[in-house]
Assembly symmetry: C2
């Protein structure tokens, strides 16, 4: 069960002018469930994206990056779940291209105007015939208000579909930002999350769009971790159709900041929903590291806490075995860390200072915080003014069950 996260109300998911979505059940892994998504973009739309840094990046990532490098007018995105088309060598690349080609023929565009995305099991051949056979049904289903069914069609071990929308007024023009994401395991994005797509009808100049997608990824998807495993298929794509205005937004303008704020809200909500629905998650944990010498070292400490199986199992058990937090901080690879200067808070409770347990700390205070489903851990390093926040979840029996039985 996801932690304090209900499926989005379809009525809340605003359509984005210039974006149509269609889904189909292509029987990629399981019969009868929608597992194929087609997104069609109106002419003039711009798109920018960030991708996984995993060296075994999937064939669709290779092809999408290749297509984007040609700076085409992207007209369609095609996404399948159930098979990642990763670790599939040159045959996988060919199958990703075949998928793009089928979409291009169905929509009357060039194959380089189509970006492919896949998620699911790794190192198994993509069932490209079934995907090609499913495309006409996706085309027939294309509608602007299909965001909720699109979110459902890209789920793998997700237990709830993830979608979010915001609207804002930019220079008096009503503007919408809507996004969807999927992901529950193999989540420690280094560039972006497993798969996330956000669209706005704002008119955004290309350099501004490239900057936006990076800034937003950095503040949202790149700040979450479930299990520290960076996926082979991570991608976050940001679409700007331009339907809301004829004036493109440039970097460094108030309009840019305004739009970035709305997109960041959508992306953070989606990113946090991935953690809330993390495989086996029972707790949503915010790890905040403050007063570090640099953002990089704050992140090191935050990930050391968030990736420690001992910390994660203590959260699962609601056990204030908080010495594990100190061990994780000491283990984060900051060679000149003086532990006497470190303080650790659990929620509002000061747990440790001056290298050890704080004299006023009482186990029952720690226990009270540990029993909550939303917990903030704060490590104050006392070395500088930098800070970093990441979001993670606990490690439960259910995580082991899900990943031991993933392919059955």
């Amino acid at each position: 069960m996801a932690v304090n996260f209900a499926p989005p109300d379809p009525a809340s998911l605003r359509a984005v002018r210039g974006v149509e979505l269609g889904t189909a059940a292509a029987e990629i892994r399981k019969p009868g469930r929608r597992d194929l998504l087609l997104i069609r973009l109106a002419e003039g739309s711009r798109i920018a994206g960030v991708f996984t840094r995993n060296r075994f990046c999937a064939a669709p990532v290779v092809v999408a990056k290749e297509h984007l490098a040609g700076r085409p007018q992207v007209r369609a995105l095609v996404v399948n779940t159930g098979n990642a088309n990763a670790g599939t060598g040159s045959d996988g690349i060919a199958r990703a291209r075949t998928t793009c080609n089928a979409v291009a023929r169905a929509l009357g565009c060039d194959l380089r105007q189509v970006l492919p995305f896949s998620t699911g099991v790794i190192m198994e051949p993509l069932p490209v015939d079934r995907i090609v056979a499913g495309i006409p049904a996706c085309v027939a289903d294309l509608k602007p208000d299909n965001w909720r069914s699109a979110a459902e069609a890209i789920m793998t071990t997700d237990t709830v579909p993830k979608a979010c929308a915001r609207h804002l007024s930019i220079d008096g023009e009503e503007t919408v930002v809507t996004g969807i994401a999927k992901g529950a395991g193999m989540i420690r994005p280094d560039m972006a999350t497993m798969l996330a797509f956000a669209a706005t009808d704002a008119n955004v100049a290309e350099p501004a769009l490239n900057a936006l997608v990076r800034e937003v990824a950095e503040g949202s998807f790149n700040r979450i971790t479930v299990d520290g495993d960076t996926s082979t298929n991570d991608a976050f794509m940001l679409i700007a159709t331009g339907a809301a205005s004829s004036t493109p937004i440039s970097m460094g303008t108030p309009q840019y900041a305004q739009l970035r704020g709305a997109i960041m809200q959508v992306a953070q909500t989606l990113a946090q929903s991935i953690v809330r629905d993390g495989e086996g998650a029972t707790k949503f944990i915010t790890v905040r590291v403050e007063r570090g010498a640099s953002v990089a070292e704050c992140r090191k400490v935050a990930y050391a806490i968030a990736h420690s199986p001992l910390v994660k199992t203590a959260f699962f058990a609601s056990d204030p075995n908080l010495g594990r937090l100190l061990a994780a901080i000491g283990n984060s690879g900051i060679d000149d860390l003086e532990v006497d200067g470190v303080s650790v808070y659990l929620g509002d409770v000061l747990v440790a200072s001056e290298g050890g347990r704080h004299p006023d700390y009482r186990e029952e205070d720690g226990q009270r915080v540990m029993e909550q489903s939303e917990i903030v851990v704060r490590a104050v390093l006392g070395r500088g003014a930098a800070e970093a926040t990441i979001w993670t979840c606990d490690l439960s029996h259910e995580y082991v069950t899900i990943n031991a039985e993933y392919r059955t």
Copy 2:
């Protein structure tokens, strides 16, 4: 249950001339179990050690390093389980010194000739009064053939005591190496394992002993990981009493190589037994990375595989979901890794090559290997001549249970 690892036969554990061991039940955490160990060394013994690099290193580690820095004639080691005396600030240091002082008074030596060691729960005050009260019983129990009960007295979540002995003849002198270790979780030693003590009656010159302990730690305890969490208390101590010979062994001699071989065997057996008895372990996994550009990058890849929760749960499930191996390799942080050059073997089965599944790989072959309790994973990087091996275990429900319920 430990993986293919039975408790050592007490008769196989050779006494080491010059070393006596005594244990007692000091009621540190649980009544009625032996939880305190005293090791007395004959005059003229030499000792060298390596310690955790965790910045929140425990008070006994601080004190032991401080005492060693004074280059004393170490006469005793005192070890308690049940409480790590870590994350305890200056009060913890004082309690470790009080322990040493009590031992010094009981044995008639200086407190700086005593080294303290602790293992157990972090951030709780060391019950030093009970430890001091238990020391006379340890003294009364001192005997050369107490290695097996010593191994039992330092256990925490270990399910079997860990001890091992070898004997060899150096220049015609019968020489013995005997060691004990403990550890099952919070295991990813960066300098040494949780706690390990090995003694030989060989006569070893001090620089040679310092070199030996480092070389052996590097090839044994530093090559294992259970959960990637480096403990606050790790220590590996190597004792040479010199009783076997009047001629000290120096570095770079055939005798040095001979002794190192025997100590390495003892240390590797102990290190591997820690993995075999890793918390919840059901599989013993050797990860071997070959043909890397450097040993450092081979280790990076090996640890990326060994620390991936997804890889570990697949091993637990005996599921050849081997794409997770590729994802872990791709995720190991080698930015210029060309995946086309990587081959992956599971046991004798070639699973992947040229960036994807090998054409001859059949799921049933992978399944056959996955069902074994001892599995070798080989990643061949095709970048150079370096290699590295580490040993790890799987991630099971039992790991979560043990660590969720550790303090109950």
